[in-house]
């Protein structure tokens, strides 16, 4: 068995990805606060370190030392403590199939042959997209378990509403992705990126891209679909009885989910690391930089949407999904299929 290529290198890549995502989460909170502030004509944190860059450190410090009380959980204290961990695990796992860059060709270092390093953890697996869906479904477990074990009826209701929202929006999301799959003829994310060398799929499938954007916002519980999230801040929500570090972990799971959704949009619709091809062919670092730039742009878009649009009421949110997005996604799929069948080649 080729230990290096099959074990050591993926291990190192996973470590880099996990650490990168956790640091990325911390600075995403900083970026969100600064960006939301600028959209609202104010400064955002600028006291903790230059430009407020040490603000996440201050927040982490506060979360660690906050007093936590655990009392009267339903049935299982173990599940109460594990629920944030389940959410976080699902959010981190989803990044395994996102292709960050091209394959770095084999090279020699100190007389030792390093094999080809694909710049993603498992993107070339033939069921990449299916894996993403499965993990998105897993993510809802952490929320509903957290809400239930809190032994608080409001938490339970909040958890159920959040879960219903996330599950409902997975349907139009799936249909939008299927429209993309008709173009790319493969579920593997690496192949999807390679097909976008000439034209990113957002040009060929604008409606699917818009549907996927809206569903991604709803999956990540981001404004304007963040009624469950503000219910946290206001009255109750699935994380009411969670304090300090456990709440920070739920929060972390949500932001990492958001980063993953943005990375997936960048991969499926904006051309991943491959487009524009003349830049991506220069050097793998440029390709990785392209990927990060696209993800960063999507994150900026998410924060921009959050600070501009009012929140959607829960029943209207569900109506919008089932009565508008789902039929629209079906129509888009049908039209795409017809066009592909009629076009030569």
């Amino acid at each position: 068995m080729d230990w290096i290529a099959n074990l050591v290198i993926p291990l190192i890549k996973s470590l880099i990805v996990v650490i990168g995502l956790l640091v990325g989460f911390a600075y995403m909170t900083w970026a969100e606060r600064k960006l939301c502030a600028r959209f609202q004509l104010r400064y955002g944190p600028n006291r903790a370190g230059p430009f407020g860059l040490l603000q996440p450190v201050a927040d982490a410090f506060k979360a660690i030392f906050k007093e936590e009380t655990i009392f009267g959980q339903v049935h299982s204290k173990a599940i109460y403590v594990m629920a944030p961990g389940i959410s976080l695990a699902a959010a981190l796992l989803a990044f395994a199939v996102v292709p960050v860059g091209p394959t770095i060709n084999s090279f020699q270092v100190f007389g030792f042959r390093v094999p080809d390093i694909p710049l993603s953890i498992a993107a070339d697996v033939n069921i990449g997209v299916l894996y993403l869906f499965a993990i998105a479904g897993l993510g809802t477990y952490g929320i509903v378990l957290g809400g239930w074990t809190s032994n608080n009826k409001y938490s339970l209701l909040g958890a159920l509403r959040t879960t219903a929202q996330m599950i409902s929006y997975e349907l139009p999301m799936g249909l939008a992705i299927v429209s993309v799959l008709l173009l790319s003829e493969s579920l593997s994310l690496t192949k999807i990126v390679e097909k976008q060398a000439i034209l990113p799929f957002i040009v060929l499938q604008p409606v699917a891209a818009l549907i996927y954007l809206i569903c991604g916002l709803a999956e990540a519980n981001r404004s304007p679909f963040d009624l469950p999230e503000t219910e946290n801040e206001l009255v109750a929500g699935f994380a009411t009885e969670y304090g300090g570090i456990k709440f920070a972990i739920f929060f972390m799971a949500e932001y990492i989910n958001m980063i993953v959704v943005c990375a997936v949009i960048a991969t499926l619709f904006l051309g991943g690391w491959q487009w524009p091809a003349f830049l991506a062919d220069l050097h793998p670092i440029v390709a990785v930089g392209l990927f990060f730039a696209k993800t960063a742009f999507m994150l900026f878009l998410f924060v921009w949407i959050r600070s501009s649009l009012p929140r959607v009421r829960y029943d209207k949110l569900m109506q919008f999904c089932w009565k508008f997005l789902f039929p629209l996604a079906l129509v888009n799929l049908a039209v795409t299929a017809v066009v592909i069948a009629l076009l030569p080649g």
Partner: protein, 156 residues
């Protein structure tokens, strides 16, 4: 028509996002307080100050009208006679004890309007926070000190 309404709605959303984008490129309107000065108007009611006249004598004669009119009862005045040896104010009496409880003051300015000699004025100093409740009862020595506001006073 659902599609037409949806496109109309989408256009409104894009306009809303345009407004925030415009804000993104403008300078924030926050005043970074200790480094930058706040701009206030001349009649701004801040910390009280007991004035003196040109000869250096206090204007306050200890009449107690300010204490009488204060809506929250934050002022306490006790008067005493001026003697030839110890003269504090121009007339017969002066205020030997003059205290304002800043935790109760609502900065309405009635005491300033009630004062017959023009001794009590509300100046522009507003950074009055302190760590100890006892030290928030200002006595006469503190009130006689001129206020040192960190502000820019706009045209009235």
């Amino acid at each position: 028509m659902v599609v037409i309404e949806a496109i109309g709605g989408l256009w409104q959303l894009i306009r809303a996002m345009g407004v925030t984008l415009k804000h993104f490129f403008q300078k924030p309107i926050t005043v970074q307080y200790p480094e930058e000065k706040v701009r206030i108007y001349p009649r701004f009611r801040g910390r009280h100050e007991l004035q003196r006249d040109e000869d250096g004598l206090e204007l306050c004669v200890g009449c107690g009208l300010c204490a009488a009119i204060c809506p929250s009862g934050a002022i306490y005045v006790e008067a005493a006679e001026n003697t030839e040896g110890e003269r504090y104010s121009k007339g017969e009496r002066y205020a030997c004890i003059y205290e304002i409880n800043m935790t109760r003051c609502i900065f309405c300015g009635y005491c300033e309007e009630a004062c017959p000699t023009g001794a009590l004025k509300l100046q522009h100093e507003f950074a009055l926070a302190d760590y100890d409740r006892g030290s928030l009862v200002y006595d006469k020595t503190r009130l006689l000190q001129p206020a040192s506001p960190h502000v820019i006073i706009l045209e009235g």
